[in-house]
């Protein structure tokens, strides 16, 4: 057993810390720190700065801009990024479609899409969930039928996060309705959002924010060369993608940062003298520490690149703690949390309740926490 970082690891951490705290615009980092919604330009600018430094897609194969890092280095990169209030590289690009194309796509697809995906020249949206296929994703009914060299796509996707910014969408569509099992007969398609027949409709969320959308496909024509990998093998690629999604989904650093920010507020208001308030901070800091150490244990034992089954623990607990910190913020704001429309109260109080409401999503997306419990019970405990 050894706790200390090696000299190289410590130097790497310092390098990341320096980069993230000096190269990313302060304005963007301030907005993240305050919990404000970011505009598209802030995401694009940040990811391009990171990509220029070779730090946007370290998880990709080296020839496509990835870094040959150890799992620990990757973890340090991710933690330092969050602690510095840097918006992470767009997940749809960096963690989802990029790795799928890099692993399963043709050489032509790789050359065409990977460089602009890493540089956020293309903003991708995720077309997975449907009105009747949420946790039970394999029940999806969007279909693609062959027409000469093209596929004709019909159906509907939903919960398409930041689809309003998207240039392209990657989606799962049923290409063999006669397949024996519902996981079979699904393919992984890429298509431009401005294709004729694509309609985007915004969904307003309970906090008044606009993050997610419905996407309708009405006889959308997609050339066959935009099908990734093999026909009817889409479920395999989707599972690969979802495994990656789960690993990054425990935002330990970001939650630590939110709690730290709240602690400063509480201290300024002399609220830490209240043992009831102090106890909540202590318990949350401790649980976050335990979570971070669990994440370190998981990265240390997932050298083969496959997600460790314990990554379900990270998703489950990580989102619970993220929600718990947002709960503490509303409680600290107290009655002022109701003044969410006010411009005269401190920003943290007016943002507290909307953020709390918005974060209810965290235990639902990325495989709901019930799905994670099912994975833990089945895969790990053998139940």
């Amino acid at each position: 057993m050894r706790l200390r970082l090696s000299e190289e690891e410590a130097a790497f951490r310092e390098e990341m810390r320096t980069f993230f705290t000096t190269k990313i615009p302060q304005e963007t980092r301030d907005a993240v720190a305050a919990g404000r919604h970011l505009d598209k330009d802030a995401y694009v600018e940040t990811m391009r700065i990171m990509n220029a430094a070779g730090l946007a897609v370290p998880n990709w194969p080296v020839e496509w801009g990835g870094r040959d890092w150890t799992p620990l280095q990757r973890h340090i990169w991710h933690e330092e990024l969050q602690l510095a209030c840097v918006p992470p590289p767009l997940a749809f690009n960096a963690n989802m479609v990029g790795p799928v194309i890099a692993n399963f796509g043709s050489q032509e697809l790789k050359e065409r899409f990977l460089p602009p995906t890493a540089n956020l020249d293309i903003w991708w949206a995720q077309g997975f969930s449907e009105p009747n296929a949420g946790s039970d994703l394999a029940s999806l009914t969007t279909r693609a039928t062959r027409d000469g060299d093209d596929w004709i796509v019909n159906g509907q996707k939903t919960w398409t996060t930041l689809g309003q910014h998207a240039d392209w969408i990657f989606c799962l569509a049923r290409t063999d309705p006669a397949a024996e099992r519902k996981q079979q007969g699904i393919s992984f398609l890429l298509l431009p959002m401005d294709s004729p027949g694509v309609t985007l409709r915004p969904i307003e969320l309970i906090d008044g924010s606009y993050e997610v959308n419905e996407v309708f496909f009405d006889d959308v024509r997609v050339p066959h060369d935009l099908l990734v990998g093999e026909v009817n093998q889409g479920w395999t690629y989707a599972k690969f993608l979802l495994g990656n999604e789960r690993v990054g989904v425990a935002p330990v650093g970001a939650t630590k940062r939110s709690l730290a920010r709240l602690k400063v507020v509480a201290e300024d208001l002399d609220r830490l003298d209240d043992p009831l308030v102090a106890a909540r901070f202590v318990e949350l800091e401790n649980e976050l520490l335990a979570l971070e150490l669990t994440a370190l244990r998981v990265v240390a034992h997932s050298a083969d690149g496959k997600p460790h089954p314990a990554s379900s623990v990270l998703k489950l607990k990580g989102t619970e703690l993220q929600q718990a910190v947002s709960e503490l913020a509303v409680d600290l704001a107290g009655p002022l949390s109701l003044a969410s429309g006010s411009e005269t109260v401190p920003e943290w109080t007016s943002l507290a309740a909307p953020a709390y409401l918005n974060l209810r999503k965290a235990s639902i997306y990325g495989g709901s926490n019930e799905i994670q419990r099912q994975i833990i019970a089945g895969t790990i405990l053998g139940l």
């Binding site: 730290a260 649980e287 623990v313 489950l316």
Partner: protein
Amino acid sequence: MDFTLDEEQQALRDAVRGILKQYDPSVDAERRRQVTATEPGYDEDLWARLAEMGLLGLPFAEADGGMGAGPVEVAVVCEEIGRVLAPEPYVASVVLAGGLVAALSSDEQRTELLGGLASGEHVLAYAEGAVAEPVIQGARADTIVWNVDGEVFVGPRPAGAVAYSTHDGGRAARLELDRSVVAPLGSGGDASAAIALVMAKARLAACHEALGAMDAALRMTTAYLTTRKQFGVTLNRFQALTFRAADLYTALELTRSIVTWATMVAAESDDPSAIVSAAARAKLQTARAGRLIGQEAIQLHGGIGMTAEYAVGHYTSRLTALNHWLGDAADQVRLLSGTLTDHTVLDPLSS
């Protein structure tokens, strides 16, 4: 950064597991109950074998008859003790009472007391206060190490010990300090700083004991869920039960992470205050998980979990004892509340 045991530590774990096998409920369902029903509440032959293996001197310097091992090795032993609920007073006698002797005593006291402890000839107990209760194995111990308001004394067991069994199958006693038979440990005087560090290490050892117990209780519970049938199917067909087992696993793994980390801090840090707060963090998490796993292990078993004949309830009893020994969750929260403004965020890699 490495969370795994090296080969020697794995060999130690296997050896300890081997010698404690008699208590494993899957090996002998009755043995632990027989031992805890008979005075002195633990197996003195086994204690002698632990001495032969060097385990009773494990954390002490070789010059004092010990093995010169560190917190990680102690952790390995304690986890195996917890796994089978071995009733031998290892943490109380070796880690806590022995730890104080090692930290404070004069050379002469050290040779005599640690030599006797390591060889198994003398059982040590730790007593807090001039009237101390419950002193673990206080009526059996040959030598008592007293902590009276931060000053540490040592002497033979005083007359008039009132002995009894504890709910977890152990033995304890009420002891009154007899100043005429004790001597200061080492140079005497205020030893609060040394006591705090030894207590922190004992707390960590107790956390590892609890980890072993929680791990075993969860395994026992999942095994039961896959075999017990109701309504014509095994219990693992009921999601209401399997989801709760998943939560227990989550609690256990988070606790394992923080306890292992704290032990690495104890092994590597030169800063006693870092070790004291790491141990408090470990104890807090262990107390929370121990309570949850203890309660749920019984509930998921149903009525059988309530019976003395079946092992799982004893795990709950032991976890409850460990929760309240050496400072409970509230004590740790109180301590850590005072450190909240010492840091912006906790950084586990720079402790």
